[in-house]
């Protein structure tokens, strides 16, 4: 028969600002096969999917479908060529039926009128064909669908739209075990129909369950491709890790002192039974996959989301958290992951951004001295080497790294006792990364307690004195600096039955 390769990407590269997300990756998806994509967070899997679905366009390299070179200028163009990415949370219109959701934009008509009966009959036929009869009804409203059913709607959209290449982006993260089973049956069904499936997941068990081939990515490059039947967990984990950034991490002698933060059995909507402590002069890293509950834990500790049970103590005194104000007053500070949305006043100056946390301390009878503000801003701009023409510069014009330094400066000005840094180097270029690592090291050496959340293993290993690994909202283990390796952390973070 003809060439089984339907989708081919050759040496695709993509850069976002200072970050080289993909540096020349090639892949081939064959009809009737499942190609699994694996890699750490930030390895480039999502970017690859976005190039496939036409959300972004590659800077270099080519994409071919059935041997024809194609350019996916828009998501629509990708769909026209038969490529469809099923995202984790598909867009579902809540107040219309499943049938209308599937055929949105191409509803059948009889004369000028919408043909509801015809539509329901058609969708019932589609459901029967792909084995979903009973799982989902055509007339069911979008809002009543479970996450698995939503994905089924998205898959139906793809199939009725004539998709021949379907990519799943971590499809099981929001599914129950039972739903996962039906998804696997569906994927098998799709391969029988001759569709090429691309499957992105962190979960080893699933990968071995569904994949024909496995492509491992690291740092935006492909490390290698394996036939699923000829490899094992250990080999894949070894392929995923192994970067060397140790030169970026300075390490001053640290004096570990009193306990600054102690969590006892903290349980929220997203995490449960979290207990650990962070001491003065110590950097503790929270490692784990995206979605392990680390960011949610940070927001609970800072008083942004409610703690259902358990307690937070600061310097041995229980902290009653009603809002972030209580946490800030007790000396805690959070530099959130989404710094543009959650930390910065993008249209205000560097000075206003730095001084936001200290205005209440600078005021006398509510009057704030501009001169004093400028003095503080200048001091921390110099100390953290924020590259800005003046302190009057609007923050939105700075680079990601300098924006992050501005956020750090805000909390240094406040002299916070404990800093929680959520993905402090996301979207930051290498030079600024090194600066930020140096700042963290210096703060720890000066006696601050620091909790770093990071999905980058080299960063975790380079910064931390202790590493706490989370998976699925729970603590999976704690490693000291000396015993920790990338393999050990990744095993705790990924493998379901790890010790």
């Amino acid at each position: 028969m003809t060439d089984p390769v339907v989708l081919k990407m050759e040496n695709v590269a993509k850069r976002f600002g200072a970050v080289q997300a993909l540096r020349g990756v090639s892949l081939s998806a064959r009809r009737g096969e499942v190609l699994a994509l694996m890699g750490e967070n930030g390895a480039g899997k999502s970017t690859l999917l976005r190039l496939m679905s036409g959300v972004h366009q590659p800077d270099e390299g080519s994409i071919t479908v059935d041997g024809q070179t194609v350019i996916f200028a828009t998501p629509h163009a990708a769909r026209e060529s038969g490529v469809r990415v099923v995202v984790q949370e598909p867009e579902i219109i809540p107040d219309v039926s499943v049938a209308e959701n599937v055929y949105a934009g191409a509803l059948p008509r009889r004369g000028r009128l919408f043909d509801r009966t015809g539509l329901y009959a058609q969708v019932a036929k589609d459901l029967a064909r792909y084995g979903f009869t009973g799982v989902i009804r055509p007339e069911q409203l979008g809002r009543t669908l479970s996450p698995a059913q939503r994905q089924i709607v998205e898959i139906l959209r793809a199939l009725t739209g004539g998709a021949r290449i379907i990519a799943f982006d971590e499809p099981t993260s929001s599914l129950s075990d039972h739903e996962v089973e039906s998804l696997f049956r569906l994927i098998t069904q799709l391969t029988v129909e001759g569709i090429a499936v691309i499957y992105v997941s962190h979960r080893m068990k699933e990968i071995f369950r569904v994949a024909t081939r496995i492509l491992v990515l690291r740092d935006g490059a492909s490390v290698g491709e394996r036939i699923a039947a000829e490899t094992n967990d250990g080999e894949l984990v070894r392929m995923m890790v192994g970067r060397d950034l140790s030169a970026l991490f300075p390490r001053s002698p640290r004096q570990i002192g009193r306990t600054v933060l102690r969590l006892r059995d903290v349980t929220t909507e997203d995490v449960s039974g979290i207990s650990f402590e962070v001491r003065a002069g110590e950097v503790v890293a929270l490692a784990g996959l995206v979605g392990a509950g680390r960011t949610e834990l940070a927001h609970a500790v800072i008083g942004d989301t409610p703690i259902l049970s358990g307690s937070v103590e600061v310097e041995e005194k229980p902290l009653h958290l009603r809002s972030p104000r209580d946490a800030v007053r007790a000396g805690l500070a959070l530099a959130p992951e989404e710094r543009k949305q959650q930390a910065l006043l993008m249209k205000r100056s560097v000075r206003d951004n730095i001084c936001l946390s200290v205005l209440s301390r600078l005021q006398k009878f509510h009057i704030v001295s501009r001169a004093e503000e400028s003095r503080i801003a200048r001091r921390y701009v110099a100390e953290l080497r924020v590259r800005t023409p003046t302190i009057e510069q609007e923050v939105s014009t700075l680079s990601g790294g300098n924006q992050q330094k501005t956020v750090l400066a805000r909390w240094l000005a406040r002299q916070a006792k404990l800093l929680i840094l959520d993905e402090p180097t996301r979207g930051v270029d290498v030079g600024a990364k090194a600066d930020i690592y140096a700042i963290i090291d210096k703060l720890a050496a000066e006696g601050s307690a620091i909790l770093v959340i990071s999905s980058e293993l080299p960063e975790v290993l380079g910064l931390a004195d202790r590493i706490i690994v989370m998976q699925g909202g729970r603590m999976r283990g704690e490693l000291t600096r000396d015993e920790a390796t990338e393999e050990k952390i990744l095993s705790l973070a990924i493998l379901e039955d790890a010790a």
Partner: protein, 336 residues
């Protein structure tokens, strides 16, 4: 030498730009629009330039002016207050009724101010603790406060304050030849400007409007700020109500206060206050208030049918927001 010449050539536009940035592009365009409008009206009818006419413009804009100033503050926070006119009407009636029953102008004024504080508090509480969108909450109280004003007054003008020295002074008195109403507007604008510029409260207002999540995570008590500002609006709306009573000589449940919400929001938007919050100045709002006052006065002087005024107001509000959106450069889908 050539290098120096080149530098000066480059530095000139930058000095110009810096001057422009200090005054604000928005304010410069308002001043230009104002100049053009004044020139146009003045050419048609030179009576426009009489001192008495200028004073008339000043006193007419005083009431809407104080409301526009506090509307600016609410909008900086990212909110909106549609009930300002109704609050002014309600407090106008109450100030006149308390004055009539006690005979004391001060008692009437105090009662109105306290009532304003309460109506503002109610707005804030509904928004914060009811989690009701500010537009909807104040649209509801816009209707409710007007209803209460009509209920207590039976829908009629109340009392007569034309014999009381204090009320007469507020309406027609002057200090150094400048009407008291204008002094009051300037005083309110100055106090709010000082608050916005020199206090931590003002700076935090800009922060809350610019990025509420960031402000919250930085430890700023959002709820206190929002409720506090709605109370400030209530008090200033009561001040507007008192001035309304003084100007008309009696407590007015609806006439004179109708449309103040539209005018104050138009002035603030025209003055460059972002509807998303976080951006805008009192100076811009005051310039816009003057522009609107001159426009209204000009239409009267030029004998234009007064219905046109409402059309002009509405058109200006839309134009102001369209310009804002264009300058913000955002490209969205669906409803803004």
């Amino acid at each position: 030498m050539t290098a120096t010449a080149a530098e000066t050539a480059v530095s000139h536009p930058s000095t110009f730009r810096r001057a422009l940035a200090t005054i604000g592009v928005q304010n410069v365009s308002l001043l230009l629009a104002l100049a053009a409008l004044v020139a146009f009206i003045g050419v048609q009818n030179s009576n426009f330039f009489y001192a008495s006419n200028i004073a008339t413009i000043g006193t007419t804009v005083a009431i809407v002016g104080v409301l526009a100033v506090v509307q600016t503050v609410v909008m900086l926070l990212g909110g909106l207050d549609i009930s300002v006119g109704s609050q002014a009407g309600l407090t106008s009636v109450v100030s006149a009724m308390v004055f009539m029953s006690t005979g004391s102008a001060l008692a009437g004024i105090a009662a109105a101010l306290v009532l304003g504080l309460c109506t503002g508090l109610l707005n804030g509480v509904v928004i914060i603790y009811g989690r009701v969108n500010a537009v909807i909450a104040t649209l509801a109280t816009f209707a409710a406060y007007r209803g209460v004003a009509n209920l207590v007054s039976n829908g009629r003008a109340q009392g007569y304050t034309g014999m009381n020295h204090l009320f007469v002074f507020l309406a027609r008195g002057d200090i150094l030849g400048i009407p008291a109403l204008i002094w009051i507007l300037l005083l309110v604008a100055l106090l709010v400007q000082l608050m916005l510029h020199f206090t931590d409260i003002g700076r935090n207002i800009y922060a809350v409007g610019g990025n509420a999540t960031a402000a919250r995570l930085a430890g700023i008590p959002l709820n206190r700020y929002i409720i506090g500002i709605y109370m400030l609006v209530g008090v200033v709306a009561a001040l507007a109500g008192i001035l309304l009573t003084a100007r008309t000589g009696s407590g007015q449940p609806t006439s004179g206060s109708q449309g103040l919400e539209l005018q104050s929001i138009t002035a603030a938007a025209l003055g460059g206050v972002s509807l998303q919050g976080g951006r805008g100045t009192i100076v811009g709002t005051i310039l816009a208030v003057i522009l609107l006052g001159v426009l209204e006065n000009g239409l009267i002087i030029l004998n234009v049918n007064s219905f046109w005024q409402d059309i002009a107001q509405g058109a200006l509000l839309v134009i102001a927001v369209v310009i804002q959106q264009r300058r913000a450069g955002g490209r969205g889908v669906g409803l803004p």
